[in-house]
Amino acid sequence: MFTFILKRIIHAIPVLLVVATITFFLVRVAPGGPFSEDKTMPPEAVASINQHYGLDKPLYEQYFSYMIGLFKGDLGPSFQYPNRSVSGMIADAFPVSLELGIMAMVFALFVGIGLGVMASTRPNSMRDYSSMSFAMIGICVPPFVLGPIIIWIFAIKLEWFNVSGWGSFQDAVLPVVTLGAIYAANIARLGRGGMLEVLSQDYIRTARAKGVPEYKVIIKHALRGGLLSVVSYVGPAIAGVITGSFVVESIFQIPGLGRLFVLAAFNRDYTMIMGTVLFFSVMILIFNTLSDIVQILIDPKRSFREG
């Protein structure tokens, strides 16, 4: 297992280098800079700020100094908030996104597996159809539609929750549902498919023939095999749920990483964009590796020896 992880880390290095290089040039090549839009500043002041941040040097020099900084773990200062470092701001915002993401994933797993198992135990029944229609709603109503609509229903009309904000547990309910809905839907569909396949296998028939009660057949015998596809989905989905909350964080005004990134993109905060993009890439790589490890542990057909 350790060689497996080591191998993954070695594979990750070129990926991160590519990400850093692409983002760097994408960000710099475009016309305009972080300070050129500010009309109130005299040009001399802009020039001196540019000099301070090294923006007046040739591009390749900036690139190499940034890359050297990266190897030292230094993401540089934020251009938008003069006294703050990018790493510091990410460290402040990440726990918020992490909390939101984990809650959304737990919600999605509970709802998704519940619906999926419910549907698979009685295929083509009313129960199957209603849980699968529920899942279809989750897939077809994207967060930027679901978010405003549940705000309108539960916060404006019923006044059960605040419209936006991030403080108490209550504030988390609507964003968690908005963010988790699509994952719950996908898990439900995958779970149903996997369970159906497993439930038709011989060993399930054997278990039933031996007189094992139905709930035990499902929990002890079928779930492990039936949820394999769910596990392989959940790993990358966790990365997605933690990193892909731009819309939800913007709608609910949550001070997380997604909002930080969107604001940085609008403000042309070079170092902040680079920092968040790299951070997101690292998260995606870590969660993909973790999900591979979990899959290998529960799937007897796979082993750590493969790539």
Partner: protein
């Protein structure tokens, strides 16, 4: 869709019963799937509404009526008007054109790149295959949504750029699916049998590999279009996609969300149309997948 039917009918598989070709079989299964049929009809209606609607209506998408302001639905404005007094129904029709066009074009871009890349990789196999797939893996690790956001902020909110950006994200999955499929078809017994009776390579590809790919491609296309439309709407929602006075469904949803407290219809109508379209496309995709899979029984 006619070309698909034609292609499907030309690749009839000799089944046990005479005349039971894959296309006929698939068509019959599809007709029995009520949800898929509903999807086809609702989708056709939406497409016709988007294309012809603006010609039949008296308003246009940029005509403002400031004294009217945001009016609730009435007989003159069936879906009401927005804050600037523009007719919402017309703006939804125009938005439909944009959203559907983006969906189709970007899907075609990703389809072309993905199928060619995946087929080449899968057919050649060996070292070239693993190298090409390694490249796809690396691309997968890039946070594309973020790069697209950066691109949109920087290079202006360009219509064509949206196609290219979305197409560039989506081809990766297509390439992987096609590659895996080609790779596994190559090893099937009937390909071996075809080789054994001395069929030339190009005939094997044409008669045995491509027909087997077609189903998966058709299904994948119907499932990619809603995803692509969602990305476009997502960009428009963040204010990075289509710019006013042009309209797209994402943009209308964004406008509606900002004033939903006072004028809820501005959120509801576009949200409904957008979700309905996604529903239809997903139903159709699922229906086609079941219909084209020879293993599913009626």
């Amino acid at each position: 869709m006619f070309w698909i039917k034609e292609k499907l009918s030309s690749m009839s598989i000799d089944a046990e019963e005479p005349g039971n070709s894959l296309s006929k079989d698939a068509f019959r299964k599809l007709c029995k799937n009520k949800l898929a049929l509903f999807g086809i009809f609702a989708l056709s209606f939406l497409v016709i509404f988007s294309i012809l609607g603006p010609y039949l209506m008296t308003f246009n998408y940029y005509q403002q009526n400031l004294s009217l302001g945001a009016a609730s639905p009435s007989f003159t404005h069936l879906c009401g008007t927005d804050v600037l007094g523009r007719d919402l129904l017309v703006r939804m029709a125009y938005g439909g054109r944009v959203s559907l066009a983006v969906g189709l074009c970007a899907t075609l871009v990703s389809l072309t790149i993905g199928v060619v890349y995946g087929a080449v990789s899968g057919y050649l196999g060996g070292r070239i295959d693993s190298l090409m797939m390694r490249f796809v893996d690396i691309m997968y690790a890039l946070p594309f949504t973020m790069l697209v956001i950066v691109l949109m902020v920087w290079l202006g909110r360009n219509f064509i750029l949206i196609f290219v950006a979305i197409g560039a994200i989506e081809w990766l999955t297509m390439a992987r699916i096609v590659r895996d499929e080609v790779y596994s078809i190559k090893k099937k017994e009937y390909i071996e049998a075809a080789r054994a009776i001395g069929l030339p390579g190009w005939k094997i590809i044409l008669r045995h590999i491509i027909p087997n790919l077609l189903g998966i491609i058709v299904v994948y296309v119907t499932l990619t279009i809603p995803r692509v439309m969602m990305i476009e709407a997502f960009l428009s929602f963040l204010g990075l996609g289509i710019q006013p006075p042009m309209s797209s469904w994402g943009l209308l949803i964004k406008d509606g969300a900002q004033v939903m407290e006072e004028y809820p219809w501005m959120l509801f109508f576009p949200s409904f149309v957008f979700s309905l379209t996604l529903f239809c496309l997903n139903f159709l995709g699922d229906g086609l997948r079941d219909a084209l899979d020879p293993r599913t029984k009626e």
